[in-house]
């Protein structure tokens, strides 16, 4: 057996293995997203319970959150969900450079959202003196939930950056790209969680 045929056999075996395990990987990743959803849900329901058990909301001495900046920042994150979706679509259709540009746009928009969150934290902590530790239930629940979501966005930005590097190195092919699918699912997940957080903190 020649070295070339050995390589071909090995390659074929990996591809077969990939096809067989792809569904399992997908189910495992969806299970991870469901578990993350449970984590967020528990904090969200705790917040809603505490909010409704008090004497009015927000507690005395704390202003309601202004929706204008949050709406703009939310749209930045939702826009990144759209660009991520088209990144995956372009990869599936073999348009590699368009895929890279959409992926980079997603990273920039995700980083922009994080920058907006830092700006808002800065305004709340130093401008309105609302803190995680000193503003009762309101501060604790707001900073815990939005901070946990921000951490997810940050990890997502890191993951997407790794995807760009891996894609440039030729790790993914048109028949083998579960990493990109998982990245898209994860990014949509952080978008959807923000829809809920935006609604309960700024719109209710």
């Amino acid at each position: 057996m020649s070295v070339a045929s050995l390589a071909r056999d090995a390659h074929g075996e990996v591809d077969q293995l990939y096809i067989e395990t792809r569904e399992l990987r997908l189910q495992g990743f969806l299970l991870f997203l469901v578990s993350d959803c449970v984590l967020f849900s528990s904090f969200i329901f705790a917040y809603l319970y505490l909010r409704n058990s008090g004497q009015g909301w927000p507690p005395p001495g704390i202003q309601r959150l202004d929706v204008a900046f949050a709406a703009w920042n939310s749209v930045v994150l939702f826009g990144s969900g759209a660009t991520m979706h088209y990144a995956l679509e372009n990869f599936k259709h073999g348009k590699f450079m368009r895929y890279i540009w959409f992926l980079l746009a997603t990273i920039v928009l995700g980083a922009g959202f994080l920058g907006g969150q830092v700006y808002e934290y800065n305004h709340l902590i130093f401008g309105e003196h609302v803190t995680w530790w000193g503003s009762g239930i309101f501060g604790a629940s707001f900073f815990t939930l939005t901070g946990m979501h921000g951490l997810h966005v940050f990890l997502g930005v890191c993951y997407l950056t790794v995807l760009v590097l891996q894609s440039a190195a030729g790790v993914y092919t048109r028949g083998k790209f579960f990493g990109i699918t998982a990245g898209t699912l994860y990014w949509h997940f952080v978008d959807v969680i923000w829809v809920v957080l935006f609604s309960i903190f700024y719109l209710l």
Binding site: D66, A71, S74, G79, Y86, H188, F189, D191, V195
Partner: protein
């Protein structure tokens, strides 16, 4: 033009764009089958809803804004 108006304008314009893109992508993928595509469809729908909420907040239809001078 103050910052709040610029933010609202940005939220309205970008909200329309994102909602249209999300629902168009959902429309295009409507007949796609398989687990991941079903999840993508659900998430695109929620993304579109989120964009509409941000758009309505930008238009001051929902949400809270401080009174002038407050």
């Amino acid at each position: 033009m103050n910052a709040a108006i610029v933010e609202r304008l940005g939220a309205v314009i970008a909200g329309i764009v994102v909602a249209v893109v999300a629902f168009y992508a959902l429309y295009k993928d409507w007949n796609a089958s398989g687990t991941e595509n079903q999840v993508f469809k659900l998430m695109l729908f929620l993304l579109g809803i989120g964009a509409i909420l941000a758009l309505l907040a930008g238009l001051n239809v929902i949400g809270f804004s401080p009174a002038k001078g407050a």
